[in-house]
Assembly symmetry: C2
Homo-oligomer: 290 residues x 2
């Protein structure tokens, strides 16, 4: 691997910042563009090159990685003025790691292909800690050859990296992940609410039920935070609502009914409307305390 | 410990049969009563004494363990004709290990106390395999002294044994367990249904999402059974509906709203109405295939 290759990195929020840092430390040239320059200062002082537009960032890059907020942001950095697809080099690779819509991933793939650019969708899970420790799960959609070429980059950022299928499959897999989490969190919160209401000691209850069939990541990792009154974001309520909205729209387009997911969206929207959009997803529990 | 003590064992279904077997092998005298004598034949031929009524079983027993089907069965063996409470020895211990209502556990406790009998509620989780391997989780409610005296029996049947609080607390803890499982199973099934509908390979998807925040016992242990078309009962749909019904009634009595649990009951009742009451809980997935 030639680590002197250039990577354009677009979006250096909580996740992107750690991920770009791993690439820098691995010896890649990193061009950064992000909406708020301050969020890239640490990378710039570590040797990344600041670029004032996506166009400038991608001009000499072999790889472009994007991880921005919402599908509309993805749309803009790829198709907007000074955007990626108009300016990326022929033969280069563009990788959107934002959790976004499968249809947009397919649209980018098709538009890129027309220009001789390779496109992958590669959303992640594992949160800020996974990003920091380069232990992200990376769910990839696109062509196998492009996947193989980009694998060394993924391996700098994650541990569990799987090519799921054609363009859009990475995003669809991420939706499967979010769907499983959504209703599970309802059950975790309801279980704790029941424990408290019935006069049990929720700590003892958790000690018991996390050892068996009720166990889950959320029960063993997030329920203790709830009991400690810690609602800080590992993952924001507002981003979870975005993800669930994408999943529900996709499901509806496939004629698939997901009543658990629908209930989860309703409950999280109620929570956001009560001012909790910047809390962590475990704040769902507050619905029983409000 | 004096293992020549006598245990009356009432109810030798899938769970009770294994549990009584462990006590027999540990050297206890075991008196068995169960509705269908054939279900106790293996125990009788291993040395258990057959009794034709609960009254006969408990007459000389220091401990009585019950694990029957529904709360009405518990009611009957404790309070009915030839029942346990009228016939158990003063100073003996009665332990209901059925998943039943917290209010019935309290009623048994109070009635037992009047007669100088000690009562514990001690429902289990871990299923047929846990019962067979003596690895059950046992959730106990009642007095500390009675718990301590009965602990050696529990240790023959389970691994994770916790006194949760006063009478009824074992049952309440079991409800916390079932509530967490209920909505989680919806999420697992919806995630698989989405994976299939969107053209993904569900096996690859599971490989990926079981490593992160979406993981749960149901996702890693039951989703693969669903994909293999294996809907055999580890835990019966009909029993799960019973448990969730108890939890919902208790929650309503406490003024607690549990929309996830309500949705789960509706979905499982729909499933049972379609003839799946004797399938395993993972058969919920069939709602997307029917």
């Amino acid at each position: 691997m030639n680590n002197r290759e250039t990577v354009a990195f677009v979006g250096t929020g909580v996740m992107g910042n750690s991920m770009a840092g791993h690439l820098l430390r691995a010896g890649y040239h990193v061009n950064v563009y992000t909406r708020t320059k301050e969020k890239a200062e640490n990378l710039i002082s570590s040797g990344a090159k600041w670029c004032s537009t996506p166009a400038e960032a991608v001009a000499d890059a072999k790889y472009t990685i994007t991880i921005v907020g919402y599908p509309k942001d993805v749309e803009e950095v790829y198709f907007g003025k000074d955007g990626i697809l108009e300016n990326a080099k022929q033969g280069s690779f563009v990788i959107d790691m934002t959790t976004s819509t499968p249809s947009l991933a397919k649209k980018i793939y098709a538009a890129a292909k027309e220009k001789g650019i390779y496109s992958l969708d590669a959303p992640v899970s594992g949160g800020d800690v996974g990003a920091k420790e380069a232990r992200l799960t990376i769910m990839v959609g696109g062509d196998k050859d492009a996947y193989k070429t980009c694998l060394p980059l993924f391996e700098r950022m994650g541990k569990n990296i799987v090519l799921q299928g054609e363009a859009g499959s990475g995003q669809h897999t991420k939706m499967c992940n979010q769907i499983a989490i959504a209703t599970n969190m309802i059950g975790v919160c309801e279980s704790l609410a029941y424990a408290k209401s019935s006069g049990l000691d929720p700590v003892k209850v958790l000690e018991t039920i996390t050892t068996g069939a009720a166990n889950s990541f959320s029960l063993s990792k997030l329920a203790p935070r709830i009991l400690a009154g810690d609602f800080e974001p590992g993952f924001y309520v507002k981003h979870f609502i975005k993800d669930m909205g994408i999943a529900l729209a996709e499901a509806e387009a496939m004629g698939l009914k997901l009543p658990g997911l629908s209930l989860a969206i309703d409950m999280y929207e109620e929570l956001a409307n009560k001012g909790e959009e910047n809390s962590g997803t475990q704040a769902l529990y507050k619905l029983w305390e409000m």
